[in-house]
Structures are given as structure tokens and as C-alpha cells.
């Protein structure tokens, strides 16, 4: 992944259908088949949660923060990112289940796993991404509320639109003064 990507949501389009939650759990199950996954033990866990906020639904998952508090507080170094563009992942073998990461996440996106380890955290579907697929939640979203965007592209688009509108305003003013 060359550019920094993030999963963002357009909450006006979110129906709170929770397809993202199921797709996430399924993508992280052993069988990857819904009928089998529901019977798996330990039960596959979702890493994105749709939260009601006013009249909107907001899917919330790990933000893969730049200066992630979880990475800093982990006493064993189990929570790491491999490189600047890579997502933050929990190395299960090093996790001792002390739960400090759960204590410190500002967004509350870490949960205790069923095995007593705190691993429930979005991993940006690393495996899927490496095979050229989108994260499971993004692919599953029926209204395309969830998108995987490159942050640079997003800000570029905003700058372009802002400058277009500025130009439009100036030209409108020019034509108005011409008429007068």
C-alpha cells in the first residue's frame, strides 16, 4: 500500500443494516462460510460496530491512529504496525491479556477476545487487501456508505471542489458587473 488509506463512512448513506458487522466476523472466521461460521468455536468476532448517533448509524472501527495509544501502552510490544502505511495489528503470541490497550483506546474499539486475550480489533483486512480485495465491511456495504479511500485523493478532491466554486463565484460577479 503506497498511500495512506482509511476506511471512512458517509453516515447519510448508512442504514444501520449491520451487513458490515457480519461480513467482518465472517472474514475473520476459520471457514469463511456463514453456515459453518456460526457454529465455530471460538465464535468469530466482528471488529466493526454500528453505533446509533442521533438519526444516523455510524460504523466505528479501529482508526489505526498515527500515534496510537494502544501501541505505546502495550507492555509486551504485541500491538505493532509493520510500517508507516501498514495497519496496526495485535501479535497474538505476544499478548498476555493484561487489557491495558482496552483501557486506553480513545474510541473503545478493542475488546477482550474469547480466549482471554484482547485482540478484537480491526486489522484492515490485511489478508484480503494483499489479494487485491477491499476490506470486508467496505465490500459488504449495500449503500456504499463505507469506503476505502486514499486520504490524499480525498483531500485533493475537496481542494478542487473548493477552487471550482471560488472560480464560479468570481465569474458570476464579473458577469454581473458587465451587465450593469
Amino acid at each position: 500500500m503506497e498511500m495512506a488509506k482509511a476506511i471512512v463512512v458517509n453516515i447519510e448513506k448508512c442504514l444501520a443494516c449491520k451487513s458490515c458487522e457480519i461480513a467482518c466476523a465472517l472474514a475473520h472466521s476459520k471457514s469463511k462460510v456463514l453456515e459453518e461460521a456460526v457454529a465455530e468455536s471460538p465464535r468469530p468476532q466482528r471488529m466493526v460496530t454500528v453505533e446509533p448517533a442521533g438519526e444516523f448509524g455510524v460504523p466505528i472501527q479501529c482508526r489505526h491512529c498515527e500515534a496510537a495509544p494502544c501501541v505505546e501502552i502495550c507492555p509486551t510490544g504485541a500491538i505493532q504496525r509493520q510500517s508507516k502505511e501498514a495497519p496496526i495489528v495485535v501479535e497474538k503470541e505476544l499478548c498476555i491479556g493484561c487489557k491495558l490497550c482496552i483501557l486506553i483506546c480513545p474510541f473503545g474499539v478493542l475488546r477482550i477476545g474469547p480466549e482471554g486475550r484482547a485482540i478484537i480489533k480491526c486489522d484492515m483486512c490485511l489478508e484480503r487487501m494483499e489479494e487485491g480485495q477491499d476490506p470486508a465491511c467496505v465490500e459488504a456495504c449495500p449503500t456504499k456508505a463505507l469506503k476505502l479511500v486514499s486520504l490524499e485523493e480525498t483531500t485533493k478532491t475537496k481542494r478542487r471542489e473548493a477552487s471550482k466554486q471560488l472560480v464560479k463565484e468570481v465569474e458570476q460577479k464579473k458577469s454581473k458587473s458587465k451587465e450593469e
Binding site: 448517533a53 442521533g54 444516523f56 505476544l94 498476555i96 482496552i102 486506553i104 473503545g108
Partner: protein, 445 residues
Amino acid sequence: MAAIAAAQENADAEVMVVTQDRLPYRRPAIPALIAGYIKGPEGAKVFSPETLAQYNVKLICPAEATDIDPKSKVISILSDGKKEKLAYDAAVIATGGHPLIPKIPGADKKGVCTFTTYEAAVEIVEAAKTASCAVVVGAGFIALEIAEALMHKGLDVYFNVRSRILRRLLEPELSEFLSRKFEQQGLKMLTGEAISEIGGKSSVEYVIHKGKKIATTLVVMGTGVKPNVALAEKCGIELGPTGAVKIDNHMRTSATDIYAVGDCAESPDLGTGRFVYSPVGSIGAAAGRIAGKNAAGASQETKGFLRAQADHILGMQIFSIGHSTTSAKEVNLKVDVHALTAPASGEKSCERTSFQIAKLLTDTHDKIVGAQLVAKKFGSQFAWQLYEAVLAGENREEFLERFNCPRMKMAEALVQAVKSTVVVESVGEDKALKLADKTDQRNTS
């Protein structure tokens, strides 16, 4: 932990771990083992020999280190009846702690279990198969986790604590609150007094609390640990006033090139700089990493560790950071307790944007030295801010000004992102001239 850190620090180092356990495993995983979430030692293990090999660490187990000669730098070990000697450049003692068993008559009967080792936990798992009722005598989080695990297995569980639950971590009001909540969840609380007797012929049949007899076949002791300093004492290493191995800020003991970490050793407390006995997993792991690095040649030191613990018991998220009134008393620190309420947010207060109960503890300069919080969901969004505040020793008033609800802010930000289009307002020529005049006047007056 120390071994891996040492291996990572110095690629040329030969690192070995000597342990009496059959396989290194995580103590905090034991409640999960009891609940049935994980099956055997493979689930509880943290480092398989293969993983350790990947980190270039050699595992010697099961083996007991029987003696260390700090002068000749040789460790004597006993493995499978055979004696061996290992020469070392640096050694880290991490012999852990022994469970403290209260002096209750009958505590030696069959059916009274502890849980600091895998084997002990297996005993509990076996007993739980046929038991219908269990009594957990507890102090801290792990005892509560075990109680919850046994409830999950279908047993009737009684939780006995002499004074109140989580006494060292929480203020009385929070203990009280949690006690009530846990009872609502079905955990039967036996508080205020220790069990006076454990009765039965050869194995446990009942316990007596406040004169009442409770039939049970399983009693789990979760009443804390005392440091296992046998090895350290044997080789003449100094103990601190707490009875645990004395160390400095580099995790060094009184013997050259020997370090000590974890439940067997003391550790520096960040707030006061004093050395205390703090048998908490996260502190042990952090100390282990420092000791490992130093054993491999580095010179890392720490100003101290900030005790921070969190857990999720019976639907309640519990966070405890820094000092409580109990721990403050032990280091002669005068503290004030302040109630903390959830920050006001645009949306009406609910599970997601608020918490149940919280406290801030300050010293005589109104500096935050401790914080506690109980929430149903997403408590960490507040706990994170509390942790930073205690770590930085922030002034209470300043903290309260910036205390906010991140999840709410995130939702609000997303709403704003959608609603706000880029608007460039054109100011008519007239208005522009008037504004220009005004600015001129302001600038020249």
C-alpha cells in the same frame, strides 16, 4: 518477556529460559481455561518452543534453577533428576509469586484450590465438572474472572471478601456499586467478614460465613500472592522492606549482573518514585522488557511504572489507574477524592456516551494522582483521558476543562463532514467597501 527483549536487543546473544512449567503460558489466561473458552495448555501458552526459536531463545523445561553463584556466574539447575550447570553473563530472576492462603481452619482440605499455575487450574476445571456450587475467596480481578468463569459453567457461585471487592483498586463507593451490580447478575456476595471455617471430612463439603453454613464442594482461593524469593535468598540477594527482591531503576538486584522482575520483585511506583510490591501482569511484562534489554547490554532505566488495570466482569467495565485511597495510605500520600461526572454532550446521555460512576484522586496541590471508572460500554474513551491525566500529573481543573466524549465527537465530526459543503460567500461590492472602511478606522485609531 525478558528473554524475547534480550534476544531482540542483541542478535549475538545466547538467551535461555529455565522454567519449572511444562510449557510457558500466560497466567491471565487461566480464567478462560476454566470457563472453557480455551481447551488445553496449547490455548494458554504464550510462547511455544517454535515461537521462542524464532526469537532465538532456547527453552529449558521443565527444570528448576536450584542455586546461583553470583561470583563464578554459574546457575545450577535440576532437570529430570539430572543436575546441570549453566554459565551466564547476565541473569534475570522471574520466579513469580506463591498464592497467599488465608489461615482458615480447613483450608488444607481437598477441594480447596488456587489458580496460579496451569496444574492448579486444571484441578479447578475438574472439580467444576461435578460441583454445583463454588465459593471463591477473592481479592482482585482474577478472582472475579474465575467467579464469572465458574458461573458461565453453570455453577452457583459465592464470592467472599473480608471487607469489600477490589479494595486496593477502588474507592468504597465503587466497590459498593459493583457488589450490587454483580448480585443482580447472580453472583452471591459474602462480604464484611472472612469465611470462618471450611468443613467436611476429607474434602470440602461446606463453608461457614457469618454463622451461616453454605454447602459447597469447591473453594477457590484468590487472596493474593507473596513473592517467591527462595532462589534469590539462597544466593544472598537482598530483599526489600516489602519482602520482595530489592531492585533499582534498571531492575538490577544487589548481585552484579543479576536482575529481578515480576511477582518476585519490587518495582518503582511512578507517582512517588518509591519501590513497592505490585504483582500486576502489565508491570511485570514492562519490567521484564527492561531487564531483558539490560541483560543483553543496554542501560535502560525507568522512572517508575504507572499501575493501570482494567477488566470486564459481568457486564461492567472497570478501570483503575494510579493511586486509590488505600494505596495512597501505604505510601503516606494524602489524597482527596472527587466525584467525576460525564462530560456534557449534545446528544442525550446514554450508555454509549456516559459512564456509571467515576472518581478522580488528587494530592494536596490538586494534581491528579489516581482515577477510577465503571462503565457499561466504551468506558475506554474516558479511561484513556484519565490515564494521560494521571501520567502527566495534570491539574484537576485543567483536566475537567478538556474532558470530553470522543465517540460523540467522532459521530459529530462525521455528521459535519456530510452536512457542510464548501461555501464561498461572495461579499457584494458595497458591503466590501464598508468593511474596508471599518478595518481602516480600527487600524488607524
